[in-house]
Amino acid sequence: MRLILRIARRLGRLTLVLLCVGLVSFGLMMVSPVDPVDAYLGPKMAQVSPEQRALIAERWGFDAPPAVQFGHWLRQLVSGDLGWSHVYNQPVSEVIGQRFQRSIMLLGSAWLLAALLGFSLGVVAGAKEGSTLDNIISTYAYITASTPAFWLAILAVLLFSVTLGWTPTCCAGPTGTLSQDVTLATRLHHLILPIATLALLGIANVTLHTRARMLELMRSEVATHAFAQGASRIDVAWRHGLRHASLPAMTLAFASLGELFGGSILIEQVFAYPGLGQATVAAGLRSDVPLLLGIALFTALFVSVGNMIADSLYGVIDPRIQAGGL
């Protein structure tokens, strides 16, 4: 019963936050100097008379006060209609669906890779504090934590695609091939560099965090006791450290979904990978308001669910924390 109550409260909070996200992003779109009719018409703007513009604005309800427009948008949203994207000439929900399918491969593999590698590196570095290995790993993590994501991607393209010619420079498949004809191997070949770059950036955070937890453990009484009984550092790291550090690492991995998504926008832009990130940039640059709003809401849902999982993980993995509740 308490579990149901807790889940209900979480879902309530999620809905409230999403509503706020909708309100904030809708408000931002309203104050934007970009005229939605101009954005829709594009180059045909010059051929349209002021009377016709007024008609278009009236048909779409742009003459109504912002509150009415927001109510209208919200009603459509609840009925599952996110609007029409004029950049892709498709319903927004379809654009997001298709693009996310491509992005999820990139996001998912980079996320998993970053979490696993970051965790192992952090454990290794933390277990042998002050060793050469620790110094190398820490320095690496500090440097990548300060590296601009898109610059790393540019370097990767320069090195592996342009100089060495190992990987293609762009897109999700060879140009001129229909997307359904692209084989899995080709697809992976195109994805490998974006995944590696995105993962490389994500590793730093998890590593530094895990390392700090390991250091904490190595100085704890548990470790001292184990050492006194003759256990080696590796023993302690393996038997106690893994458990001690895995929970914060997992939480961090789920809580960093937003950052991961931000990184994927930049990396998709550099690699010209036609995913959700690239669609976001296109929507912003070409003033596709419905698509921009849809993506903002969708990513907010994605990130909020990640945060919720991060919060719940504590209770599931470590029963001692459960009593605390929300």
Partner: protein, 266 residues
């Protein structure tokens, strides 16, 4: 020695960063408009003795442009971090006024944290129509939540502290309590918080500009330089892509180290 070492380190990195920043600003004053000067006989020249970091497609010196970009980033980052700290401080103060306001502020924090930073930045820059001002505001408006949380917790704790309660019970004015007891505690937090924000601020400014939502393409910002470099990547003009990013990395790294040392020292 062990007590002094973190402070020494902090002082050292503070001095080094200050020196570099002074150099950066002085170089802008000395360089004048050379970042924009075109040399049509030296287009896309590789790095050499004459052209230290090479030139771009219009024959403009890359080293001058990179320095100008870093200076731009520095100013934008400074303003944005300052504004962000002010927002964090005022919202933390508002949150401690009443339970209802506290709930409102934490809802606002949750809302901001649930949208990926970059998307929020794009939305705000879009709403403000792009440009330098838009970038500064966008970065300032998105980076305060973590600092606000720290300050809010600190404020709650301080309000319950015995000396603050005694001071109040003795009838000291609100202003006296804030000025005499609360601010001295909050200022170091704000300082470190602003320094911690700074690297994020410049990275996000560069990212936003790179995507085309930030500073105008006519300015020699790092994001603009790298976006330009993207067009010449497959031609093998590697210096265009490598150096501006390297400069940005070094600057961010410098400030990152400085804030870590300062946090340990304080």
């Amino acid at each position: 020695m062990s007590m002094a070492q973190p402070r020494l380190r902090a002082l050292f990195s503070l001095g080094l960063t200050a020196l570099l920043i002074t150099g950066l600003i002085a170089s802008q004053w000395l360089l004048g408009d050379s970042p924009q000067q075109m040399q049509f006989n030296a287009r896309l020249a590789p790095p050499s003795v004459d052209h230290w970091l090479g030139t771009d497609t219009l024959g403009r010196e890359l080293w001058a442009r990179t320095l100008a970009g870093l200076a731009l980033s520095f100013w934008v980052g400074c303003l944005a971090a300052l504004l962000s700290t002010l927002i964090a401080l005022s919202l933390a103060a508002i949150a401690t006024l009443s339970a209802r306001l506290d709930a409102l502020v934490s809802l606002l924090i949750d809302t901001l944290l649930s949208v990926p930073h970059l998307i929020l930045l794009m939305l705000i820059a879009f709403a403000l129509g792009g440009g330098t001002q838009a970038v500064i505001i966008a970065v300032a408006v998105t980076h305060w939540p973590s600092l606000a949380r720290v300050l809010r917790a600190e404020l709650w704790q301080l309000r319950q502290a015995p000396y603050v309660r005694i001071s109040r019970a003795l009838g000291k004015s609100r202003w006296f309590v804030i000025h005499g007891h609360l601010l001295p505690h909050l200022v170091p937090h704000c300082l470190v918080g602003a320094l911690l924000l700074f690297p994020h601020a410049i990275l996000h400014e560069a990212a936003l500009t790179f995507l085309g939502f930030g500073l105008s393409p006519s300015q020699p910002a790092i994001g603009v330089l790298l976006a330009d470099a993207m067009r010449y990547l497959s031609g093998g003009y590697w210096w265009l892509g490598v150096f501006p990013g390297l400069g940005l990395l070094l600057m961010v790294l410098g400030f990152e180290r400085l804030s870590t040392h300062l946090r340990r020292a304080l």
